[in-house]
Symmetry: C2
Subunit: 382 residues, 2 copies
């Protein structure tokens, strides 16, 4: 079925095919070429990130992180249950046991206050997720991580161009705070390259090894810098780096990042202003952006009071050819993990699984379309 107003429509700035053509015509289309370096430099400079490395997906960036912190069978990793499967899979693949956190009452993001009670002697890392691009409370997380000597990995898949202000009043880009961070450029994100991702290495102890793991476990990067006279197999690794074709596409997006972000924020604000009164009256939960966080307008969601209420909204919008979609199913309650979970009830995560609904959100969404979504919803009484 094709919708008049789809849920997402990948936005093209117009320069993507131009840069792709340029990349292809240089004859260097495998990874780690000119465009890869341009994109990595952009992020390092723009957001104060440590070393940046493009990957073929955010999943791959998380897998690199799991290898870098040397996750082994039996290690425990704490992360939210209300997240994408890749957050967990990357660590499961290395043999970790995943310990799931519940979500916050005011926000689908994870409940930072629960972390400390779940730490055991086996805990090695906290993998936090900046849900909807809205910062977790990083001070709380870094404090508990430092106290217990844990690694912090930011799953910043949705969190490009978003910030956290810490207790000292310093505003820091999401992805610049944990030891490592992972971004996504999947077509559903603000900034896209079809499939694609990036690992950020803020703790420089990981830099050299990251280069090796990225290059299939070889010291090829050292070789090209003239540090060794031939390159060979020095570690485990994989083929994490994307083609220059993908990097050149991403470059066109980065050149237009400001414009993309401004437009998305306009749309987001239109939604918020148009729908708040109705939502409040019907006791429907609105997106929440804590004082310490910014809004990168990745997503506009509503949380209904029941799965039935949500279904009613989905159907209502569908009648006007508008596609709205729910989001994650709690990972702790999945077919794969249910029997491995420790049995704690994660009620908030389940609530968001059953009751959260995402509204259409993309660059080319017109004011009229937003108004129609709002007006159709407002016809509903709960």
């Amino acid at each position: 079925m094709t919708y008049k107003t789809p849920f997402n429509k990948p936005y093209l700035t117009g320069k993507e095919t131009h840069y792709m053509y340029d990349a292809v015509s240089t004859g260097k289309i495998s990874g780690n070429g000119k465009y890869t370096k341009m994109c990595q430099d952009f992020f390092e400079k723009q957001y104060g990130f440590g070393k940046c490395m493009l990957t073929t997906s955010c999943t791959d960036a998380l897998e690199m992180a799991a290898i870098l912190i040397d996750i082994k069978s039996g290690d425990e990793v704490i992360m939210p249950s209300y997240t994408f499967v890749s957050t967990a899979n990357a660590f499961i693949l290395r043999g970790a046991k995943v310990v799931f956190l519940d979500s916050r009452k005011d926000h689908p993001g994870m409940n930072e206050d629960e972390i400390e009670s779940l730490i055991t002697e086996k805990t090695k890392a906290i993998v936090l997720v900046h849900y909807a691009g809205v910062a977790c409370d990083m001070d709380k997380i870094m404090d508990v991580a430092n106290k217990h000597n844990l690694y912090v990995i930011e799953d910043a898949a949705q969190a490009v161009d978003s910030y956290y202000t810490n207790k000292h009043g310093e505003k820091k880009a999401l992805g610049s705070i944990g030891h490592l961070a992972a971004f996504s450029f999947h077509e559903t994100k603000n900034i896209i390259s079809g499939e694609g991702g990036m690992l950020v290495i803020n703790d420089s102890q990981f830099s050299d090894r990251a280069e090796i793991i990225w290059e299939k476990g070889t010291n090829r990067s050292s070789f090209f810098r003239g540090e060794v006279d031939k390159y060979g197999w020095v570690d485990m690794g994989s083929s994490f780096l994307p083609s220059e074709i993908i990097a050149s596409f991403l470059w066109a997006q980065l050149e237009n990042l400001k414009d993309i972000q401004n437009q998305r924020k306009k749309i987001w604000n239109l939604y918020y202003e148009g729908i708040s009164e109705w939502a409040n009256k019907n006791n429907i939960q609105l997106p929440y952006v804590p004082k310490f966080a910014t809004n990168n307008a990745h997503m506009f969601y509503l949380v209904f009071n029941s799965i039935k209420d949500r279904s009613k909204a989905i159907e209502k919008l569908k009648d006007s050819s508008i596609l709205s979609v729910f989001h994650y199913l709690s990972l702790h309650d999945s077919q794969y993990y249910k029997s491995k979970h420790d049995g704690r009830i994660l009620g908030e995560s389940d609530r968001y699984s059953n009751q959260l609904l995402r509204l259409p959100m993309y660059y080319e969404l017109s004011n009229d379309q937003v108004t129609e979504v709002i007006n159709r919803l407002k016809e509903l009484k709960y």
Copy 2:
């Protein structure tokens, strides 16, 4: 340094950017769209492959294979030492112990006769490599695998459009014989997409799970076929599927596969005819294609009598701005694996590491360039 005659030059058929533009303009640029299916169908029909699944690299296809055959810590996998690191890494990442085979005297490919003596109770799979696109002796391998109940995975990274004729006189495409097979479309291969690969599933017991692993451990494919009413986390997995941008590029190549292969074979034959007499006189080993195999003209190599002789040839060609390059360093003797290897001397693998040289080989290599390479080499006396 830029060479007048580089070692490789990725060939563009001219339609790549056209199809990429088409993929991008449809707005479906993440994975598993129209072009992905067209490419997969092409391989299934053209070569009699089982289910085909595009991946972001051959490395990723091998990693999928390792997950599919359920490699666990302590399992042993037999493979050649003279191969790319990814052949081994994919299994190392799952905790396997790799047991390395030596190469053949007449060919850098692995010595099939050694396999059986290396099988233990822990052996789970044989990963064979069709070096230079020239078939291993598949009857020998399948017989020993069947006898010992082992999985056979074909690392067919270099082996697109190449065949094996079995003892019954049946000609089968490489990649269609083992339980699983992995192909590469890296820019150095005959058929390219920058970075890219494909998993072939010939044993249908793996088909359903392969779909799940490919889709990040979810049953999303089942969901879209209407077999389940929502999709969730059902297994481990990763993001193995490439963007439609990559698949559309690959499609342009596949449309021109016949032309690409004909041209490469012409070049290969020019080399062979021009250089054989000199090579034979100087006791230099030429490429060997057994009766049961075909030549897909992936590579033209020479094996010199010493590392010094090879260096002399590299320098000689470099003087005329021609780039020739050696190939793998034996994995059993690598910094990473040396201490884990069982100590067997793999003399042939080491010989090819030290003495094999690959000559420039790409679609746009002109007759004059080939002739120049040959003439420069012929000036050498050993």
